[in-house]
Amino acid sequence: MLNIVGPVLAVVAALLVGAGIMLISGQDPVVAYTALLDGAFNGKRAIGETLIYTSPLLLGGLAFAIAYRASLFNIGIEGQLVIGGLAAGLVGATELGLPAVLHLPLALIAAAVAGGVWGAIPGALRAFTGAHEVITTIMMNYLAFRLVNYTIQKLGDWLPVNNQFQATEKVLPSAELPNILEGTRLHAGILVALASALLLWYLLFRTSFGFKVRTVGLSRGAADYSGISWRGIFVLTMAISGVLAGLAGAGEALGLHGRHFAVPPGYGFTAIAVGLVGRNHPIAIIPSALLFGALSAGAPAMQDEANVSKEIVLVVQGLVILAVAAFAAANRIPGLRRLATPRMST
């Protein structure tokens, strides 16, 4: 349990520095943070909004974590997310004559497959050509954004897209992720995300596949020695990463907006921070995603009630990342090790 001390201290430190910045610019941090907390947690609606932000961040954080566990740095979550969202939006808006029990899963599967393929490509490039995934995933992001634009703008004759809305057509009721909290916009995407977290934890820490992933991530030499094909693991983990990111996109399309919009939401990048703050541990990523979700959900309230620019939330998010990185670095300095505890294992 000591393992969580580091990240928690990091968050506290970030909030304090954020408060300092507000003081310097002549604003009252107590009022601002109170408004932020109110906006994020006070009342059913606020909680609903927080959880709406939490679900794509949680899935994205998990996507980052699984790749990271295999020593891969997936910056392509955003691209995998929009490709997944596009696939879900298209399948969801297509009249197939299916009941909800088939149409919704089909749309989710389409998102998972599309995201998975989008992730597997840079995984395979890394495994078989050595092309670094940091570069290729960034390139895949741009490809994804352009592909979505092209689809929406040019393929209206064949696919259910709406050029005026810059989005896919409205998702049919049979493919919608149902609302799960009356009086809010909260949809079942959060359940998909939570289930994914548990599943991923099990996969990583209880199965021999997870053992292989972690071995490859920690020591390529030991993987060779024990006959683990790190190439295969690279492709598979990147595919799983893409599946999770694709599901995040599906949640937005099928749950929140009812269509997939062409503008990338940016969750894929915040997700990197979510994964890192959660130490790339599927369970720890849940509170991490909740934290970032709450910051996002509370920001507008902070702006309205305390008159503090909501961009300060971005500053706080940045500070959290810095502080977590600082604690991780402190880990390597022996004298500081006890303060910033090393590892989060099973």
């Binding site: 199965t207 021999s208 920690l218 030991a222 060779d224």
Partner: protein, 514 residues
Amino acid sequence: MSTFLATNDTIPIAIDMRDIVKRFPGGVVANDGISLTVRQGEIHALLGENGAGKTTLMNILFGIHAPDQGSIMVGGQPVAYSGPRQAVDAGLGMVHQHFMLIPRFTVTENVILGSEGDASILDRDDASRRVADLARQYGFNVDPEAKLGDLPVGAQQRVEILRALYQGSRVLILDEPTALLTPQEVEDLYAVLKRLKQDGGTIIFITHKLREIAAISDRVTVIRRGKTVGTRITAETTSAELAELMVGREVLLQVDRTPGIPGETVLSGANLVVLGHHGRKLLDIDHIELKRGEILGVCGVEGNGQSPLVEVLSGIHNPDHGIVMLKGNDVTGANPNTFRRHGLSYIPEDRHNRGLVLDFSLWENVLLGNAWHEPFTSGGRVNRDRTRQITASLMQDYDVRATDPDTPARTLSGGNQQKLIIAREMYRDPDVLLAIQPTRGLDVGAIEFVHRQIINARDKGKAVMVLSFDLDEVLDLSDRLVVLYQGRIVGSYQAGQVSRTELGLLMGGRSIDA
């Protein structure tokens, strides 16, 4: 001569270190009140196990570390340097275990490195002449214009020594100087050191090998766990006494063993070729076989095809040509798991990057290479409790000292890490055991244990291969020996039919008759 030196108190003292204490961040006390007195003109060995604090002490003497406590006198003058530069000015020179030379520079350039002076124009011819003179004076056979990277390791080491002499060193510190040398190069080094001594030079020689003490030193100071445990006159002590001082208990220096009784061939390779870049043959051997109840020793200087041989015999790499047979199955090109399934166990050379995942717990490390079958996993699920139980019992059987199976492997000593690997590899009850550099970096006590395990494996009818760069280890353990040179087997002998010297010649690429 040495007795005279050691007992004659009129000989001036070159180095006097008193009560040196050095703590490193994190609480490691590397030196805990060490004292060392070295007389002028003697070869003084500094003996101790890995981690005893020898190198730290010498780094303090050479100004690389500052001591937390204690005093240092060089030539009767107290010194307190802020860096190696001042140590050099005080007449000290140090040859590190890993050479501090630049491969792309010539010998001369390397020698004058650090003493090239402030003149804006370097007089290369003059420098080259002076280096050549110095080399001649000490009987060093090196070409001052040769590119360093082209020279053999032994010659590179002489360049290091030459540099120290060029800088005017009268006290030379050598950190494990024989670690990378062939036996012949070791003899050459001894000759150089004796010459320096005749010339009035003082030499401090760090080692953990008892054989070297007797061969070269006048006196020896033994260090254990950061403390001086005694200084002896080499001629008046025995290896057994020194080993006991070093380890702190009585040690069996000679492995106690009976001759092996070779049985059927279990693992064999034929016409094995591994190609490197540009089609160069890294490995090219006609025939190698491992038999039940026999230990095959592979000797050779590092970099002569050992890694490709091991990787081919363990399935990590496919040979470019040739066949590997394991218990009658053609396993050429199969992956390491197939080799394991057919009864191969493998203690890798590199504990930290191959044999273990340091950030894993002990039980997870026991899972390495075992994660695909009962009882460790079933249906893709890891049997954690069962693996923990197995690990706990292995820890007991193989004397792995750690609190419990959940301890991270990183926190174990090298000896305990190696014991864990051996335990894991023996748990499968293999038919073949490849032991690669099985005692590298281990202390004498752990070496004794590992050697015992290897011989036990053979006595249980397993086919064993021991590959080591330590010729004595191969000689101690093997029933049969092969010598690797430039990827080829250049000699094959029954134990006892070949001398150390002959093996040394073969390892250096010469033939025995020459």
